[in-house]
């Protein structure tokens, strides 16, 4: 039977890194929505001030959590990983020339 060797600290940092990365992404969505409303002129100055304060506090809380838990790097790794998946996807979609390259690669992998 295979023994599963788990380093508890690695696991904690990995899972927490993933969770905080997701929270950061949700925060980005909130921020973009706030910007959209600000630019659309549907918020009063007072509402904008409150929204700005809330987002600022959320930023500070996430940063504090990352430093306290020592997960700055693992959060960055998750975000970079997601960015590169999106970049690759867009690069392929925007450059039809890459489809042939990819088809060749898949073909040669399949042949092996």
């Amino acid at each position: 039977m295979t023994k599963l060797d788990i380093n508890v600290n690695d696991l904690k940092s990995g899972v927490l890194g993933l969770v905080v990365a997701l929270v950061e992404i949700i925060k980005e969505v909130l921020r973009l929505e706030a910007m959209r409303r600000m630019e659309g002129g549907s918020l009063t100055e007072e509402e904008l001030e409150r929204l700005g304060e809330a987002l600022m506090e959320l930023d500070a809380a996430i940063e504090k959590l990352k430093v306290e838990q020592g997960i700055v790097d693992s959060v960055k790794a998750v975000r970079d990983g997601l960015d590169s998946v999106v970049d690759d996807f867009l690069d392929t979609m925007l450059n039809p020339g890459r489809w042939t390259q990819q088809a060749h690669q898949e073909h040669s992998l399949g042949a092996e």
């Binding site: 910007m35 100055e45 904008l48 001030e49 304060e53 600022m56």
Partner: protein
């Protein structure tokens, strides 16, 4: 230590099975009818030698008909580097080579791997010669242009009245509003920088394409901290046109905030 044993294990696994189907690993095809050895410079120290056919020759080493595979990127890196060194040695010796992709292996069938290789050279003879004609006297160069994000942001901010106005307004706003305005400023800056990058890319591409024979746009890569890669090109350049390209790139390299990396000459990996 662990990496060494890994390499040895993989190496042993490739050579231990005596009954395995034979093959030959092909590095490149050169326009030379020579039969001979390039020495033990191949992957894992194999002897790289030529198989000639009608004025062309393939540079190969003998191996089992199985691709080189490793889960360790460092091991794979060493193999790819050895592949490149053989192609480069052939290129320096004969001037005109068509490099093949890493892991191009011809297997023996009822015929030997070498006979199958010669049959392939015969089938592709006209097409290979056509490609040699196109590539004669030309080399590949990698051209990467990056810019200093801070310098460019400063330039863009100074040039845009809308950004300057927003910067002034932020100073007089309460905390929350200032935060929202800073987000807006960031978005505006990003948009302006992207527009500038697109404009610069087009201008640079036009300039460079005027002094090269062929050009491929590659994916931009992560650059060092604070620098953003604007363009990553593979250029096919003839010996006569090279000074023009070099002069254009030197001019760009002297512009504040820009960095130019020029690597080569290389065998024409991207153009065969």
């Amino acid at each position: 230590m662990e990496q060494n044993s890994e390499t040895q294990r993989e190496s042993a696994a490739r050579t231990s099975s005596g009954s395995e189907q034979a093959g030959c690993y092909v590095y490149c095809v050169a326009r030379a009818g020579e039969q001979g050895s390039l020495g033990a410079i191949g992957i894992e120290g194999h002897e790289a030698y030529t198989v000639p056919h009608k004025g062309l020759c393939a540079v190969i080493h003998d191996c089992p008909a199985r691709p080189y595979e490793s889960t360790d990127p460092e091991v794979a890196g060493v193999w790819v580097l050895a592949h490149h060194r053989v192609v480069e040695a052939a290129w320096k010796r004969w001037g005109n080579v068509l490099p093949l992709t890493f892991n191009t292996i011809i297997a023996a069938t009822e015929k030997s791997a070498e006979e199958n290789l010669v049959a392939w050279l015969e089938t592709e003879y006209d097409s290979l010669n056509g490609r040699f004609d196109t590539l004669a006297g030309k080399s590949e160069y990698v051209v990467q242009v990056s810019w200093d994000a801070a310098v460019i942001t400063g330039t863009v901010a100074k040039a845009s009245p809308e950004i300057r106005k927003l910067e002034e307004e932020i100073g007089s706003k309460p905390r929350g509003l200032a935060y929202m305005y800073r987000q807006k400023l960031g978005k505006l800056l990003k948009k302006e920088i992207e527009a500038k990058a697109e404009k610069e890319f087009k201008a640079l591409y036009d300039t460079i394409s005027r002094c090269v024979d062929n050009i491929h746009v590659e994916k931009t890569k992560e650059d060092q901290e604070g620098r953003q890669m604007l363009m990553n090109l593979s250029c096919l350049v003839s010996t006569e046109r090279y000074p023009d390209m070099e002069a254009e790139l030197a001019k760009l390299g002297n512009t504040e905030g820009y960095f130019v990396r020029l690597a080569g000459p290389l065998p024409p990996y991207s153009f065969c």
